[in-house]
């Protein structure tokens, strides 16, 4: 009898070489984020550092957690989670900003 095993509906995953390249990119971004913070090149360093962190998080999600080949359901649910968190943050700050 044919049984549906992990291998058949598992998403394809990145090649080891790709994983190593992604790791090198992550270490590169780590260097960049420290440079941005320490060299005082811009007054927007906190925002820039959070953007770099988001870039690193995206690399980990897409390649290490192989979100790229994950089912549409998981991608949509991740979107819903991020959207929910964003709404919570915006609503909270809409209070904090205008509080006297």
């Amino acid at each position: 009898m044919h049984l549906n095993t992990s291998r058949e509906n598992a998403p394809r995953i990145a090649q080891p070489g790709t994983l190593v390249i992604v790791w090198a990119a992550l270490i590169g971004l780590l260097g960049l984020t420290i440079a941005v913070a320490k060299l005082h090149v811009t007054s927007w360093s906190v925002v820039l550092n959070l953007l770099i962190a988001t870039g690193k998080a995206a690399l980990v999600l897409v390649f290490f957690m192989h979100l790229r080949s994950e089912s549409r359901f998981v991608k949509v649910m991740l979107g819903v989670t991020v959207a929910a968190l964003t709404v919570i943050i915006i609503l909270t700050f809409s209070d904090v900003w205008f509080r006297r």
């Binding site: 080891p16 906190v46 770099i52 962190a53 957690m65 359901f73």
Partner: protein, 203 residues
């Protein structure tokens, strides 16, 4: 192959979705703590800048590199197991555990240095600080502590995976358990990716 094992490997999609749902709750859990940090940082910007100056940037950066590298090894462990290379996978899993342990040891030294300076709940140095400073270090201990707890749990889980891989409970046909453990480990890595700039780079 026994019937039980086939049944176990049958619902791969269900196992993965279950893990992702758990991770979504974790996203919101840490999201709440990050929100708390943002509000207090908005109210006490100067104290937070000063507090971050107390952090050891070298140790923090090294620890970030250690955790990113451990994530690479975990991803490689999954790739190796899916190719049927159990022994290689075990080696990568052991490497992940070692780096995770290094992370906790470095974290321990950081906490130790702060405690020695009197920065701990009700500690002499902490009580001399402004309200914003006390909040900064309260959040520092809470957030890095919660993260370290997750790292410690991850180490135990990967330890079980080493055992399961060795016993051939998981292999190239049935690897969802290792993948899910990997997802957890990468999530913990992502949390640190955000903690690092917030506590070490805002001086």
């Amino acid at each position: 192959m026994t019937t039980k094992r086939n049944e176990e490997s049958i619902d791969y999609t269900g196992k993965k979705i279950g893990m992702w749902f758990f991770l979504f709750t974790e996203f919101l859990f840490f999201g709440g703590v990050f929100l708390l940090y943002s509000i207090y940082r908005y109210r006490f910007p100067a104290d937070f800048h000063q507090g971050a100056g107390e952090e050891n940037l070298v140790l923090g950066s090294v620890n970030t590199g250690v955790l990113l590298t451990s994530s690479l090894l975990m991803a490689l462990a999954v790739a190796a197991l899916r190719r049927g290379r159990s022994r290689l996978s075990i080696a990568f899993q052991a490497g992940t555990i070692s780096l995770g342990a290094v992370f906790l040891v470095i974290k321990g030294f950081e906490w130790g240095a702060k405690i020695a300076k009197g920065i701990y709940p009700n500690g002499p140095a902490l009580l001399r600080m402004s309200n914003g400073g006390i909040l900064f270090f309260g959040l520092y201990y809470t957030m890095t502590g919660l993260h370290a707890l997750h790292v410690a749990i991850g180490l135990v889980l990967i330890g079980f995976m080493v055992r399961d891989t060795r016993r051939k409970v998981i292999d190239e046909r049935n690897f969802a358990r290792l993948e899910n453990t990997g997802l957890y480990w990468h999530f913990v890595d992502i949390v640190w990716i955000y903690l690092f700039p917030l506590f070490y780079l805002i001086t």
